[in-house]
Each structure stands twice: as C-alpha cells, then as structure tokens.
Symmetry: C2
Subunit: 137 residues, 2 copies
DNA sequence: AACCCTTTGTAGCACAGGCTACATGTCGAA
DNA sequence: TTCGACATGTAGCCTGTGCTACAAAGGGTT
C-alpha cells in the first residue's frame, strides 16, 4: 500500500493504482451510503459491485486488515478515520470527473461510468488542471 | 474478449476493461516499435513493463492465444491483423488523451502517464467529446 | 415447535499476473 | 573449441479476485 514514490515506470504505476482501486471503491460506496443515512450490508455491496456475496465478504476482510473499517455493531459497516478520508477523496475525485465530462457534453450516465473507471488513474497535476478548467468555464 | 454489451453494471464494466488492458498495452508497445522499425524482444518488453521476463513470456502466450500475434521469424514479434487493429485503436486513444491533457496545461510526462492509466476507461461518447473539444480549441 | 427465507459465513476451486530458481540456447571472444 | 554472457524458456510458488456449493444463524408464519 501507500508507500514511497520510488520512481516507478508508467506501467508499474498503473498496476499500483489497480491494486488500491477496489478498496477505494468499497469505502466510497460505504461512505456515500452512510452520508445518505442508509446502512449498507453485504447484500447491498454484492448488488452494487455485481459480484457474489462471498467476494464481498473477503474483500471487506481485506480492507478491514488495511485499517479502513471501524468495527460497528454487528452487521453494520462503518469507516475508520483513514477509511473516511480515503472515501472522501475518492468521492470528490469522482464528482469532479463527472462534472468535467458533463461540461464536455457527455451524458449523465456515461459521465458517471467513465468517471468510475478513470478516477483512479489521474494524477494531482491533471486533476488540478481539470479544476482550473471547470472554474474558467 | 469483445463480446456482447449485456448491460453490465458500472463496476462490472471496469473489471471487464481491466481484463483487456494488458493485451492492449502489449500490442500497442509492439505496434509502436514496429512502426519505428525496431524489433521488440522479450527483454525489451520486460524493460517497458517493469516485470520479469517470465511474466512477459506468459503474457505473450496469452495474447497469442487470443489471436493478436502473428508468428514471425523466431525471436521476432509480429502482430496479426486483429492485433494491429487493436494496437492502432489503443495508440490513437493514447495520443488523443495526451493531446487533451496537454491542452489542459498538464506537463508532457504526466500527460503521458495519466493517459496510460485512463485510456482503457473512457467510452466512445467521452472520447468523441474530447475530440470535439480539441477541434474547437 | 417446525419450517422457510434471507443473510452471512466457510471450504475449496479457477485463473490472471506477479515472482525466483533453474535449464537451455546462441553467439562472440579468448 | 570452449567459455562466458545474455536471451529465452520451464517449474513451481504466491496473491488477488472471481466463482459454486454447502453451513449456520436469525426472523416470521403456520
């Protein structure tokens, strides 16, 4: 996880990004649900991600080991401070990209789908450029 | 590969994209080298992707099984027509994204790196919007 | 109490994509 | 021609992320 920059080549960087995508997507989903006052369970995540409940359980265990979950009342999911921070970052990036694609004329649904795929692969530099672009337009 | 649209949910679509990324990256690398008159070998790909030569060999075998490689003289890599088509598509998308990020004010190196990560995750709709944006500016 | 449904959990498998260690092949120089 | 270097290939392992099949736990209905 999150260790040093180390000068990776381009492809190594992309691999690194992939490795943390799932965790981000999970905490993001949990975060959004909590924001909306809903309480996610395994079955919900199964639905959201289109995988079996078994896969959800195991992935949750992994992100718990990464310290992103807080142990809430049994059956309920809660985020640790780091989890919440990561989720907020992800959600903000996602929103930014959706607004950006919308500004370029992309439909709502497609903007959302593409943001989901692309949000893990843009540097702070590029995100900054996108923010500036949105401010100007 | 490339089978039916089937109405995947957002995350299923992203997973699908990941599954074809490596193949695209490999044929793209081979394609570009051939364009420039160089002849890639395993050792070059190992360098480019930052993995061991064993990983390169196995990945090549897989993309060969997918019909993307043509059997060239031993020790040399060549693309099948489908491989070439896929490579060209990838390379074009990559270039488009680099130009786009550059137009937004992103540095050359970062534009290239981010394009590498993002190029597999944008829909035709969004790519079209980007093309239109670049024409206007 | 017995039953069913839903939810969650466990066992165990497959495949992709990493790796190291070892084996072979080829080629230029001594 | 033998040796050493480099390229390529094989064997076998690990982890992540998917799956199905089965097990257990809980709640509602009859």
């Amino acid at each position: 996880m999150s260790s040093s920059p180390e000068k990776l080549n381009v492809h190594e960087r992309v691999r690194r990004q992939h490795a943390s995508e799932l965790a981000q997507d999970y905490v993001e989903a949990i975060y959004i649900a909590l924001e909306e006052g809903r309480n996610l369970r395994v079955a919900d995540l199964q639905e959201i991600f289109g995988v079996s409940h078994v896969t959800v359980i195991r992935t949750l265990r992994r992100i718990e080991e990464q310290g992103l979950l807080a142990n809430a009342k049994s059956g309920e999911l809660a985020l640790s401070p780091e989890g919440r921070k990561l989720a907020k970052l992800s959600a903000d990036r996602h929103d930014l990209l959706v607004r950006f694609f919308r500004a370029l004329g992309v439909s709502e649904a497609q903007a959302d789908a593409d943001a989901e795929g692309a949000e893990h692969h843009l540097s702070e530099e590029t995100l900054g450029a996108i923010r500036r672009f949105l401010e100007k337009s």
